[in-house]
């Protein structure tokens, strides 16, 4: 028995009424999608936006036609919902320029010196990702959701080369941040 791909699952759910297909698809993307959203929004809002994203998927499932990958489709919806939220709030979650003065949505109160090792590791990496310039943070987080560079360039509306160079820069910045804060 072969594993059904994401598009097949959504088609089976939307067009053939296979509820189990939705459950599988949901389990596949539940955690990566929520992680992606939660890093950019407060917890309560993240749950709300997460739910809205899936509602779009559910409501459009009957008419879904593969155009790109489902992963790309889902994370495009998520990015738009997050952008909508911040637009409604009349403020941006972070600056768009390539400086280091970004907010840390999750890790405001982190002090790596006083927390346990694993928790420290988790918090440090999230803090470092949070401190990346927005452009680099976007590509890094999208890459970690399993998207290919081509798909990330499509979602962000940036060229393939631009995305690749941002990925390289993000790893470099993360590494320096890690060295500064980890195992202090």
């Amino acid at each position: 028995m072969t594993l059904r791909n994401d598009d097949q699952l959504l088609t089976d759910y939307g067009k053939r009424g296979d509820a189990a297909a939705f459950d599988i698809l949901y389990q596949r993307f539940r955690q990566p999608l929520f992680g992606f959203i939660r890093q950019q929004l407060p917890d309560a809002i993240a749950n709300e936006v997460f739910q809205e994203c899936w509602m779009v998927v559910i409501e459009q499932a009957a008419d879904y036609m593969p155009c790109g990958s489902f992963r790309g489709y889902l994370f495009t919806i998520a990015r738009r919902k997050i952008a909508d939220y911040w637009r409604r709030q009349q403020r941006q979650p972070s600056q768009t320029s390539d400086d280091d003065g970004n907010i840390e949505p999750i890790s405001d109160d982190i002090d790596p010196q006083i927390i346990q090792l694993q928790q420290a590791t988790n918090d440090v990496i999230l803090m470092c990702v949070g401190r990346l310039p927005k452009a680099q943070r976007d590509v890094f987080m999208l890459k970690q959701t399993g998207l290919a560079v081509e798909e990330i360039s499509l979602i962000l509306g940036a060229t393939f080369e631009t995305v690749k160079s941002r990925i390289r820069a993000s790893y470099s910045k993360l590494r320096s941040c890690w060295e500064r804060h980890h195992d202090k």
Partner: protein
């Protein structure tokens, strides 16, 4: 990806692993999980159309409708029969009533009346029988007409309800298709434009642009900025307000043409 050369420097894979571990702890509320699961399953029950129903279920539905239709139609037939065959029915009424006691108990009202009326006339004196029979026939006819009217009203109401439901479904379907097509179109255009580093930017709105609705088109991202799509006479433009002035870039015709196929 390359790694820095410092001795305690983490590799890309270590950074990714640490990140994945950290993100794995971020989970949605269980209530959200349950709400989405319920929504997905209920949407399925609500949204399934006739084409997606299995063949056996379709066949069963057709048979069910046929049986109900036959049952609804049957009383009409029975009500008309006394007028056509009244002498025969009158003469056979006692035997008919006796033999079909069980049937009479479950038959529609008009059938019961039809069966009960001749039985009643049997017990009356012979002189009064024709008058009583005429009265009974008149009552039966009246009852039949009322029942017919009632059925016609029910059918009309049902037809209206079905038509209304179909119209609502068609409207919802059209809305869904429209939003899906728009999403695919803007998805495609964004994909095409992502391959273009530069477009000529102007600061004046093209001729024929309505200032009031310039920013009401679908939005898409290019060069990491949000733009609105503006279409004028088979030409598409990306438009955004930048402070006091406009930024306008013409979408290459080949991109626009290809993506238009999605609409």
């Amino acid at each position: 990806m390359t790694n820095e050369s410092k001795p305690n420097s983490p590799t890309d894979a270590e950074l990714e692993q640490a990140y994945q571990q950290a993100v794995a702890q971020l989970e949605p509320n269980a209530e959200v999980d349950e709400a989405l699961r319920l929504k997905a399953h209920s949407q399925l029950r609500k949204g399934r159309d006739w084409a997606s129903v299995p063949m056996w279920a379709r066949a069963a539905s057709v048979i069910g409708v046929a049986v109900v239709g036959w049952w609804l139609w049957q009383p009409d037939l029975l009500q008309q029969r006394p007028h056509d065959d009244s002498p025969v029915v009158d003469s056979q009424a006692p035997a008919f009533a006796a033999a079909d006691d069980g049937l009479a108990a479950v038959a529609p009202m008009s059938v019961q009346q039809k069966v009960a009326a001749p039985a009643a006339t049997e017990s009356q004196p012979p002189a009064e029988q024709p008058i009583a029979a005429a009265d009974t026939a008149e009552q039966q006819q009246l009852a039949a007409e009322l029942a017919l009217q009632h059925q016609q009203q029910l059918r009309k109401a049902e037809q209206e309800s079905v038509a209304r439901h179909k119209l609502e479904q068609a409207q919802k379907q059209a809305q869904r298709q429209h939003s899906e097509q728009l999403l695919k179109f803007s998805f495609c255009l964004q994909y095409k434009l992502a391959r273009r580093d530069e477009l000529v930017i102007r600061h004046e709105l093209p001729d024929g642009a309505d200032r009031g609705s310039v920013l009401s088109g679908p939005s898409l991202e290019w060069q990491e900025q949000s733009w609105q799509l503006l279409e004028i006479a088979q030409t598409a433009y990306l438009v955004r307000a930048d402070g006091d002035q406009w930024q306008i870039a013409e979408v290459p015709a080949e991109d626009f043409t290809v993506c238009n196929l999605h609409r």
